[in-house]
């Protein structure tokens, strides 16, 4: 896939923003475990949250590929900022874009697309993430309302000052014919009575991003807050996860590339035994392998994105891209940290951040094992 001129210009704009505005400040936010509101506001003004949102709802009317291009550039510099955008769009916005009613879109999308508000999607529960169908949270109809009870774990963007809502999956009954549990998606506005957001987790990485456990106790929202069809919540979410995986893959390739950039620079500068460490073949080979993984992973997300944009099936390609790129990010982060020696273990260095951040790429939005299950399934196994 060749980036179009517009995508290339967007890439350069985001690169500029990431290098000039994110890179100098994000290390401090990370160490303080603080959410970078000002950066998110600027990203909102740049229209990044609105990239795949139709213009009539305040979006850029662009395509999902544009979002992936932006994510790769942000991921190169910092994953917390990148995941805030990735989750903000693929989990906070896309369920509404794809399945929301016109009223829901008009009410929620303009602020979300402008980055003035953030939304979350709560699927994972303490009892299980990979097996998302095992949801225990329930929503019962009562007097024109949904009454929600249960909890959600690890929900991104769910507790910021600007979070407007979280869409949660809940069991809303049983299918009469099959007897299977019926799972639906329901939008819960922030601040609704009975909806509590626990304090931030203490995380290994992504420390400038926002993640919380959520509890619902007789939490009432109007019936019209159902997103999409009743009983289709799980299936809908799975379809959204496919495109989300391409986005996460692009972000991961950015992280892998960031590790290469930093390592090349440092290998030229750092002297040991009278020569730049980049003159030693073992360092050169390490960096050559890092570059190879990055390029292969980029080709994989481009391949998935190309099929996605053409409206072709891309589930397998998205899983391949996610698997390959999250491995590339983790492997590159480990190698880059090694190349940086002791400095690589210091939080203020970008490679140290990548080292801590990259692990979750192999877990979130479908673990590596889940990706392999999906790939194998597409092969008829």
């Amino acid at each position: 896939m060749q980036l179009s001129t517009e995508h290339e210009e967007l890439r350069r704009t985001v690169e500029d923003f990431a290098q000039k505005e994110v890179a100098p400040v994000i290390g401090d936010f990370y160490i303080r475990e603080e959410f970078p509101y000002d950066l998110v506001a600027t990203m909102g003004e740049m229209g990044l949250f609105g990239l795949p949102v139709p213009e009539e709802y305040g979006g850029m009317g662009g395509d999902y590929v544009a979002l992936c291009v932006a994510l790769e550039e942000l991921g190169r510099v910092d994953q917390s900022v990148a995941i805030t955008l990735e989750a903000g769009v693929s989990l906070g916005i896309m369920p509404l874009v794809r399945f929301g009613s016109d009223e829901q879109k008009q009410r929620w999308l303009p602020d979300l697309a402008a980055g003035k508000a953030l939304g979350g999607f709560g699927l994972t529960e303490a009892g299980g993430g990979s097996d998302a169908g095992a949801t225990r949270t329930t929503a019962k109809q009562d007097d024109g309302d949904w009454v929600i009870n249960g909890s959600k774990a690890f929900i991104t963007n769910s507790g910021t000052r600007i979070t407007s809502h979280v869409t949660v999956t809940a069991v809303t009954g049983r299918d009469e014919a099959s007897g299977k549990r019926e799972i639906s998606a329901i939008l819960v506005p922030s601040g609704t009575e009975g909806f509590t957001v626990a304090p931030s987790y203490s995380k290994v990485g992504w420390n400038a991003s926002d993640t919380h456990e959520l509890a619902f106790s007789d939490c009432r929202v109007p019936e019209e807050n159902l997103v999409g069809q009743r009983g289709k919540g799980y299936g809908q979410f799975l379809s959204i996860l496919d495109e989300g995986r391409v986005a996460i893959a692009a972000l991961s390739v950015g992280a892998a590339q960031g590790c290469v950039d930093e390592s090349v620079r440092y290998a030229r500068e750092r002297q040991a035994f009278g020569a730049a460490i980049g003159t030693y073949q073992s360092i050169q080979f390490k960096i050559a392998e890092m570059e190879t993984r990055t390029v292969a992973a980029r080709l994989a997300w481009h391949d998935a994105a190309e099929k996605m944009a053409a409206g072709k099936p891309f589930t397998k390609e998205a899983s391949i891209a996610k698997l390959l790129s999250s491995n590339a990010a983790m492997d590159n982060a480990r190698d880059a940290t090694q190349i940086f020696g002791g400095y690589g273990f210091m939080n203020e260095y970008p490679v140290a951040r990548h080292y801590r951040d990259s692990k979750i790429l192999e877990i979130g939005e479908g673990t590596s094992e889940v990706q392999k299950m999906l790939i194998a399934k597409r092969l008829g196994l």
């Binding site: 001129t5 517009e6 210009e9 967007l10 704009t13 500029d16 923003f17 600027t42 003004e45 740049m46 229209g47 990044l48 990239l51 213009e55 850029m60 009317g61 662009g62 544009a66």
Partner: protein
Amino acid sequence: MNIVVLIKQVPDTWSERKLSDGDKTLDRASSDAVLDEINERAVEEALKIKEAGDAEVTILTAGPDRATDAIRKALSMGADKAVHVNDEAIHGSDAIATAKVLAKAIGTVGDVDLVLAGNEATDGRSGAMAGMLGELLGWPSLTHANELTVENGTAKAKRETDEGTSDLEASLPAVVSVGEKINEPRYPSFKGIMAAKKKPVTTLGIADLGLDASEVGLAGSLVQVDSFAPRPPKSGGQKVEDEGDGGAKIAEYLVGQKLI
């Protein structure tokens, strides 16, 4: 309001900049070219005026083919249209020759109320364009503006210098050059990037401006570069031994350099 913003594509200040050995002009091919940051501020200022009232913003540049990238960036920030003076004959123009070209090109835009420029380009750094254009057009020029308000046919600017702040005022039409502190330029949005594709860009040669090749370029320039030498490498600097009075010694040095 009809606003023209002068923009220049310059070698990225992050890359190594060189003069070419042949005709001793700037070697523009050897480094990445970007829209000069000071010009982003000039564009931003024009867009603010446009957003506060009603204005059409035209981008004007004299530069080679690849200056179209700088034009597109300015258009994607939100300017309405552009004029690109692109002619081999301009190569090697000094500041006065460039000003002649730009003055003529401004004439093609119609009844212009305001011309905005950067106070100094990061490559040529003559810091002369706004003054020269004012002279050629017969308009007042307010240079080094760190604040600008345009209303009721007047432009008011604040200029900061080491001595203090000057308040400047002129009636339109006028030329204003902006300083580093005037604003923070916006990033183009994707919508802006998409829209820029469809905005009109008029390309003109010097003949279209009624100029002759002898009036511009190396031939038409009063200043010509005779020879040049690279800046000598930095010397070792001065080492301050701290014998308990290190702070005072550093302060003394800085005072000597008029830095504090």
